[in-house]
């Protein structure tokens, strides 16, 4: 379900400069192949923006460009209004961008809580990466505000029961929530979710969707959601961007996307679109 009045909120956010992440005229080429051609996308705060498209449409490439893992051939990436096109992924992370991965990129030796603690400290106490080695703070109890934030996130994501367990021992659905908790711990302004329902069953997918709604409401972050499960995207997002063969073929509300001829043609072929069997 999309939030009521979301398009208006989006429009207001864009007008007020509340767009936390934007890709402007992004183009990426791999040798002779144009993976992305002049793509624009905006993610306002407190909003879920969906990014869909058939296989090979360029979704993961766009994700890579936005998060800094890939450099575009042309175009620019803006994070909180600043041009970060040439900034490294870790620099973007420290500015408030976080992402999850289709193939989990968790740290298997660390417990759920340690994931959140590490993300929190990288954002809020980066000096501790070095100062702990000298002042032995690792042996002392962490500050109250750190405990409060970490425990709050663990609780928000429903991870209290497994907080002290290394993630290697957890089921996939739980580790997806760990990734989200870790991302939020860095006081994230914008969260990029890459196929978060990949490998989850229907119940786990619904649980995750509920978690994402809660996160947007309570944390006010902007979320860019790449997902194969079009139903999930249309149900969650306020705005949806559709890619096909590296080009943006549609931008609109879920209702607009549902009836868009180009989108139906991309997913079902021209015949499907003609027959009216919409996605």
């Amino acid at each position: 379900m999309s939030e009521p009045g979301a398009p208006e909120r989006l429009a207001r956010a864009a007008e007020s400069g509340d767009v936390v992440l934007a890709g402007r005229s992004i183009s990426v080429r791999f040798g002779g192949l144009a993976a992305l051609e002049d793509v624009d996308i905006e993610v306002p705060s407190g909003t879920i923006v969906g990014l869909v498209g058939p296989n090979g449409a360029g979704k993961t490439t766009l994700f890579g460009v936005l998060s800094g893992l890939l450099r575009p051939a042309a175009g620019r990436v803006e994070l909180m209004g600043a041009d970060v096109t040439n900034r490294s992924p870790q620099a973007r992370a420290r500015m408030g961008m976080a992402r999850t991965f289709q193939h989990l990129e968790l740290f298997h030796d660390l417990t759920v809580r340690q994931h959140v603690v590490l993300a929190y400290r990288v954002r809020h106490a980066y000096k501790r990466l070095w100062s702990d080695l000298i002042d032995l703070r690792g042996w002392r109890r962490p500050p109250a505000e750190e405990d409060e934030r970490v425990d709050g996130l663990v609780s928000l994501l429903g991870l209290e029961g497994v907080a002290q367990i290394p993630v290697a021992a957890l089921p996939l659905g739980t580790t997806r929530r760990v990734e989200v908790a870790r991302a939020l711990a860095a006081s994230t302004a914008v969260l990029l979710l890459d196929e978060p329902s990949s490998g989850l069953d229907t119940r786990e997918t619904e649980q995750l969707a509920q978690v994402l709604r809660t996160v947007v409401e309570t944390e006010g972050v902007g979320i860019l959601l790449v997902e194969h499960d079009v139903g999930m995207v249309l149900g969650l997002s306020s705005m949806v961007t559709v890619l096909d063969f590296g080009r943006c073929i549609a931008v609109g509300t879920p209702d607009e996307i549902r009836v868009d001829e180009h989108v139906r043609a991309a997913y079902l072929g021209d015949a499907g679109a003609t027959n009216g069997s919409a996605a």
């Binding site: 998060s67 800094g68 893992l69 490294s88 992924p89 870790q90 620099a91 992370a93 420290r94 976080a98 992402r99 991965f101 990129e105 968790l106 740290f107 298997h108 030796d109 660390l110 417990t111 809580r113 340690q114 603690v117 590490l118 993300a119 400290r121 990288v122 954002r123 106490a125 980066y126 501790r128 990466l129 070095w130 702990d132 080695l133 032995l136 703070r137 690792g138 042996w139 109890r141 962490p142 029961g161 497994v162 907080a163 002290q164 367990i165 290394p166 290697a168 021992a169 870790r182 860095a186």
Partner: protein
């Protein structure tokens, strides 16, 4: 000049066979065989034994060694060992082959005796016939190398290109999983590949023996050159590997033509040829692709899907390690262990205290592996070289320049830390296997280029380095060493408990995940590389102080292999395991000699090698996992005593500091 090119083609041809063997095993079985040189040595030594010592005729000796023994070793290794490791992480396989490279030479010595063989026969009839072509001489041995190389590479090309078996091998290279699902038989293909690879190792050994003599260490030179070609080929391109092998052989030979004969410069420059090739090709690959990783282009989506969680890491998770052990036991077990070691010198005979002095110095060195491999997840094979450099520099500063010895040790270790950071910078964009290859080659380079300098060598006796006055006796030196070991262990534990420790752990498991979290992978890798090199430097200087002489020969890369195998056998992530490993390395051969017979000294490295082979089954080390098991039983016993049921949730009983993993390994 032509004479040198002819000689270069001979050596290059042998390198081409070696690199072909390495590439086909890597692409089809995912194993970069560091034991290739040891297998070559084993076959060549067997040939020498049969043909020279047992007076067998040439043809049956050659046939038996080349066509039966070589392939049989490959079949045995695959059937007993590597077929069970298909899904093991790449680094585990690498360490296992290092274990094999340590275990095989002493087995050969046990079988055939420890004879120094500088001149070994080739596969040509004696006396070796000499041909004269275009004013140059070509021996029958050289001619047979050409024929062997052309025949083997030609047959290999035809088989790979035009036969069903070749198609199967190429399919395996693309996707082992899909080959299996398509009705192919990966088992048979892998078996065949292993047999071919060790057949090539045997051929290389028999062809190389007349050129370099017969010693296990000499064959590491073969590995270095072949590895350089393999790096150039990005571990996968057979054609490039063969071409670069010839180039290395010819370059080395032609350099001898240009450089003054029998000069120290010549002997110093020649070992650097493979390293130069490695550096040039790595720079080329990095500029072209941005990063060089052994995982590039390996397998299809299905293969990636069935790769075990955690990819290429060496040690298991804390859950698989110390999970289920009462935190109090985890905390006190290593403390009690250290306390016991502190008491030992007061209980032992002075002879054993002397051995303990050596053991403590070795333990100190091994803590560098605990850091770089255990904590950092990187397989650096140049740690022993850092130790050697530090020992040589400390000896120069203390003995030649009159510095206080401990200050000299500290400064030399800091210098080595800088070298570690520089090497870390060089290897930042490389995958795990490439890091192992580059550090190995760098170690071999320093061994040949630096350790042999007259200023360090001092005509083979090395440079004197005395112990500090207050630690002149063995007992006092043991305690000095133990204090430093404890301090370094506390440093490691402090790193683990710090935010940097969490970040290091993050980088170890997922560089991409760490980077997108805001962690600088570069900083973390350089941190651990620098500290580990510093600790290796301390260890090397202490090893030199223990023997009171700093000599490069005591810090060979091969010895580093042995140290690594001992440590992974005991436990690569535990500080106390480093102490046990040091004691085992020094004491076990002596105990075997005392209790059994001097001949059994060779059993120690065999046991260490076999221990490293157990890594796949015991990723945290045999001793550490035994301690975990004992800890779990003790925990269960204590719970029963206190009235708690065995099903009590372990999660509820965590250490006071919930941000740190609980493990006996600390």
């Amino acid at each position: 000049m032509l004479q040198f090119v002819i000689a270069g083609l001979v050596v290059g041809g042998i390198y081409a066979l070696a690199s072909s063997g390495l590439v086909i095993t890597f692409v089809s079985a995912g194993v970069l065989n560091f034991a290739f040189g040891s297998i070559a040595y084993a076959v060549a030594r067997t040939y020498f034994w049969l043909h020279i010592q047992r007076h067998w005729a040439l043809v049956p000796s050659v046939f038996l060694c080349m066509f039966v023994l070589g392939p049989a070793i490959g079949a045995l290794l695959f059937l007993v060992l590597f077929r069970h490791l298909t899904l093991s992480p790449t680094l585990v396989k690498v360490v296992i082959t290092i274990g094999l490279s340590v275990a095989i030479p002493p087995i050969v010595i046990l079988l055939f005796g420890d004879m120094q063989i500088a001149l070994a026969p080739g596969i040509a009839p004696q006396p070796v016939h000499i041909f004269h072509v275009l004013g140059s001489s070509i021996s029958m041995d050289q001619l047979l190398v050409y024929i062997s190389v052309v025949a083997i590479l030609g047959i290999g090309f035809i088989v790979l290109r035009f036969t069903t078996t070749g198609l199967g091998v190429r399919a395996m290279v693309d996707s082992p999983a899909m080959t299996s699902l398509s009705g192919g038989n990966p088992f048979r293909i892998s078996l065949a590949v292993w047999m071919v690879s060790t057949f090539l190792a045997g051929v290389c050994g028999m062809l190389l023996a007349p050129i370099i003599g017969l010693s296990a260490q000499a064959f590491t030179g073969l590995i270095a050159a072949a590895f350089a070609a393999v790096v150039a080929a990005r571990l996968r391109n057979l054609g490039v590997a063969i071409a670069v092998s010839f180039a290395i052989g010819i370059a080395g030979s032609v350099l001898q033509y240009w450089l003054p004969p029998a000069s120290t410069l010549t002997t110093a420059v020649l070992p650097s040829v493979p390293f130069v090739f490695i550096v040039v090709f790595l720079i080329y690959h990095i500029v072209r692709a941005g990063k060089v990783s052994e995982g590039d282009g390996v397998g299809g989506p299905l293969d990636r899907a069935i790769i075990p969680l955690g990819g290429a890491r060496l040690a298991a998770s804390a859950e698989a390690g110390g999970g289920g052990v009462d935190p109090r036991i985890s905390r006190w077990a290593p403390i009690l262990g250290f306390a016991f070691v502190f008491i030992l010198p007061t209980l032992l005979h002075p002879f054993w205290v002397g051995l303990m002095a050596e053991a403590v110095a070795v333990a100190l060195f091994m803590l560098s592996y605990t850091l770089v491999t255990g904590e950092g997840g990187m397989l650096w094979l140049s740690q022993i070289t850092f130790a050697g450099i530090s020992a040589l520099v400390a000896a120069q500063l203390a003995t030649r320049h009159g510095w206080p010895v401990l200050l000299a040790v500290l400064v030399s270790s800091l210098l080595v830390a800088v070298l570690g950071i520089l090497l870390g910078l060089l290897t930042l964009r490389l995958g795990d296997v490439y890091v192992a290859l580059v550090t190995l080659t760098a170690g071999l380079l320093v061994e040949g280029l630096v350790f042999t300098r007259p200023i360090f060598l001092q005509q083979g006796v090395g440079v004197v380095i005395n112990r500090p006055q207050f630690a002149n006796t063995d007992k006092a030196f043991v305690y000095l060493g133990l204090v430093v070991v404890v301090l370094v262990s506390l440093l490691i534990v402090n790193i683990r408990r710090s935010t940097a420790g969490l970040a290091l752990n993050a980088v170890r498991w997922s560089e991409t995940g760490a980077r997108t979290l805001g962690i600088s992978v570069v900083q973390m890798k350089l941190l651990v590389a620098g500290i580990a090199a510093f600790v290796a430097g301390l260890g090397g200087a202490f090893m030199a102080m223990q023997t009171k002489v700093a000599l490069g020969d005591n810090f060979s890369v091969y010895l580093g292999f042995v140290f690594l195998t001992v440590l992974v056998t005991v436990g690569v992530r535990s500080c106390f395991a480093a102490v046990v490993a040091g004691l085992s390395f020094v004491m076990l051969p002596q105990l075997l000699e005392e209790w059994l017979s001097p001949k059994f000294v060779q059993f120690a490295p065999i046991l260490f090698g076999i221990g490293a082979i157990q890594l796949a089954r015991h990723p945290n080390g045999v001793m550490v996992e035994q301690m975990h098991d004992t800890g779990r039983k003790l925990t269960a016993f204590l719970r029963r005593l206190s009235g708690h049921g065995p099903g009590q949730a372990e999660v509820a009983e965590q250490p006071e500091q919930p941000d740190q993993p609980a493990t006996v390994a600390s």
